[in-house]
Subunit: 406 residues, 2 copies
């Protein structure tokens, strides 16, 4: 297997470190807009860097990515960029006949008249619209294959296969007790993506109603996270699992709630009220004369890079899938989860917990595809595959999952 | 009297509209960095525009301003730009032997080690440092002559002269109930200046201690504003009155508290916690390639221009001076104030309330200097002059002041 990894940010860099320890692939080309960043990721692998080549590429330039795939004879493209680049990369892989994996799906557009009641263009719609072409090409686009979406979807399929006869509700629940020394405000994940997720209308699925949206930050609840993290306030957030799970798993209701906490929610609301969350360019003076800039890019530039904060971070992050339903005629409720302690991921991989937890899952998926345990063609989510081999490999990677029976 | 007005923004434009109705001066040159803006201000005066000439000037270019003063034989420079341009304009007037007025004083620099305890370079220090040269030249630099500082300082002097035998505390208190249709967040005054004022360490004066600073937003109190505005949460903010009043008026304590309200304070704290209030440039992608931009400039560019919001604005703004002390052996407490209703200032002058309230005061001061009621040389604040002629003229301008006895 020859892999083109696009994006050498926090997640991309962690992917190289995890993959470098596994023999399943032949070569990984590490491409980034910023060549020194790709070079730094490869250089950090030290003696394990021989299967990696850093290159420069603009992820928005589909033709350049196609050329790169062909030039390096890659049979799979792993997209570790932000969601703006999903479509050009997805199309580049299709054009050249490579498999494709990502960890976030093509972007949504709110309903033009009733944004907080009805869905408009949904997450992934632009990718599922190309299902026929992918199926015809005989190649696989495995979409949403990080931790959330990704591992959370694997858990949902496992619950449906092995733990329940009937499922009333599947609720992805994400929470952490991470703190960062020396910063008043330092998100542990890309602020650009966090704003996108949290300020878009959250989407909910119900069997009788289909997909619908709500106001941002709706249905707050306190969820008690395992392994010492404890109770965190969670709210509905737009997320891929709600769009993916119902396509393969029969459930009465599917939600995603993010444990943002009160302060973080307040900060996001303020950014939105001011309009500095916007991606619509404004005209300002710069050292290069007058230019147009996206306010959200400026917010991201001001904040510390979350991938660089691992040394100052303390605590654990938890991703998981809470399921309520019936087994053998009796009500059942479980929470399937995966916890990463920042201290462990920093000492083992030099990657902070949130970034490492996202990165490990596409590497496992690639390994299952490489060894034939997972097979598929067309545009598929993680819940379209056998969950147990995935969950076993996660344990083998040294980072076991857990289950709490309620 | 021939006047050079520098700055044809919201306040400058309102100054031309107020002055155009008064016969006391011969000519006003209206200068702006953006010539069309100066031309628009003059054109809007219609039949009253014959005493006004629009010109272009860069307020940072002291030599160009000096040339302009000489060329148009101006005997006074009225500075209506933002505080970054105080020093070049102040020096240009001194160089050419013209009088000088401004509405904000030269900028402060926090104490390098103990910014929230001790003053560093104070507001106006760089101007008072030139007192000897101004006195020797026989010309007047009347500094801080807007509404706050300005009218508030006139009120302080009036209280000392006519209302009290002894003053324990003078507290400038500014509050409003202005709302702007169609905006979740729309400041009624320059956000650039508001951030500068509110996030710098607030300064307080005490007779026994001199000037000292506190943490931002310190000593919150609810102040009940008159004429239907009602109670608003006020906090300490760095402002010129605290530096000016004690130089001419004997008071035990002098403070400035701004009625920002809980929401606005929360917003400013969030901007600061994120660092997007900063003027320190960050590198971002723009439509002109990579460039360095000041995050605060981006916040200002995202928000609507407060001078353009008059038509959507409702409510009143209040500036005033609360004084506590002793008169005839008995405790006394008064609030001297000036309220402007946006509906009135828009229909009378086409200028929104906050901008109009700032602009009327330097025009009154110029008229008093022109007719000889006010005379002075050197660097002086508004409290160095007789207050009653000023307060009478304010009434004659159709915008009476008020007094509440507590």
């Amino acid at each position: 297997m020859r892999i083109l990894l696009v994006g050498a940010g926090g997640v991309g860099t962690a992917i190289t470190r995890i993959a470098a320890r596994r023999p399943f692939f032949d070569h990984m080309v590490v491409a980034d807009y910023d060549l020194p960043r790709a070079e730094a990721a490869v250089a950090a692998l030290g003696v394990r860097s021989d299967r990696f080549t850093p290159v420069r590429v603009d992820a928005a330039d589909q033709a350049a990515v196609t050329t790169l795939l062909a030039e390096h004879r890659c049979d799979v493209l792993l997209n570790a960029t932000d969601p703006r680049f999903v479509l050009p990369l997805f199309e580049a892989a299709l054009a050249v006949g490579a498999d494709y994996l990502d960890m976030a799906m093509s972007m949504s557009k709110p309903h033009p008249e009733r944004p907080y009641e009805e869905v408009g263009v949904k997450l992934g719609d632009d990718q599922f619209a190309r299902e026929r072409e992918w199926a015809a090409s005989g190649r696989l686009a495995l979409v949403g294959m990080g931790v959330e979406p990704g591992l959370a979807d694997v858990f949902a399929r496992y619950a449906a296969d092995d733990l329940f006869d009937e499922i009333d509700e599947i609720g992805i629940r994400d929470g952490a007790n991470l703190t960062v020394d020396g910063y008043e405000f330092a998100p542990s994940f890309s602020i650009w993506t966090t704003i996108e997720e949290c300020l878009n209308p959250p989407v909910v699925y119900e069997r009788d109603r289909g997909w619908y949206t709500t106001e941002p930050f709706s249905e707050p609840e306190i969820f008690d996270f395992p392994e010492g993290i404890g109770p965190v306030e969670c709210v509905n957030v737009e997320h891929e699992e709600v769009l993916l799970v119902p396509r393969w798993v029969n459930a009465g209701r599917v939600t995603f709630k993010y444990g943002l906490g009160e302060d973080f929610i307040g900060t996001l609301k303020t950014l939105h009220a001011l309009g500095v969350d916007s991606t619509e360019p404004v005209t300002v003076r710069t050292d290069q004369g007058t230019a147009r800039v996206s306010p959200r890019d400026v917010v991201a530039a001001v904040l510390p890079d979350p991938a660089e904060l691992g040394d100052r971070m303390h605590g654990k992050t938890c991703a998981g899938t809470w399921v309520r339903g019936v087994k053998d005629g009796r009500p059942r409720e479980v929470y399937l989860y995966h916890v990463v302690d920042n201290q462990w991921s920093m000492s083992e991989y030099g990657s902070q917990a949130v970034v490492w937890q996202t990165a490990v899952n596409p590497v496992i998926a690639l390994e299952l595809l490489a060894n034939g345990a997972w097979k598929g063609t067309g545009v598929l989510g993680p819940e379209a595959f056998e969950p147990v081999p995935f969950m076993d490999l996660l344990v083998e990677f040294g980072s076991p999952w857990g289950m709490r029976e309620h």
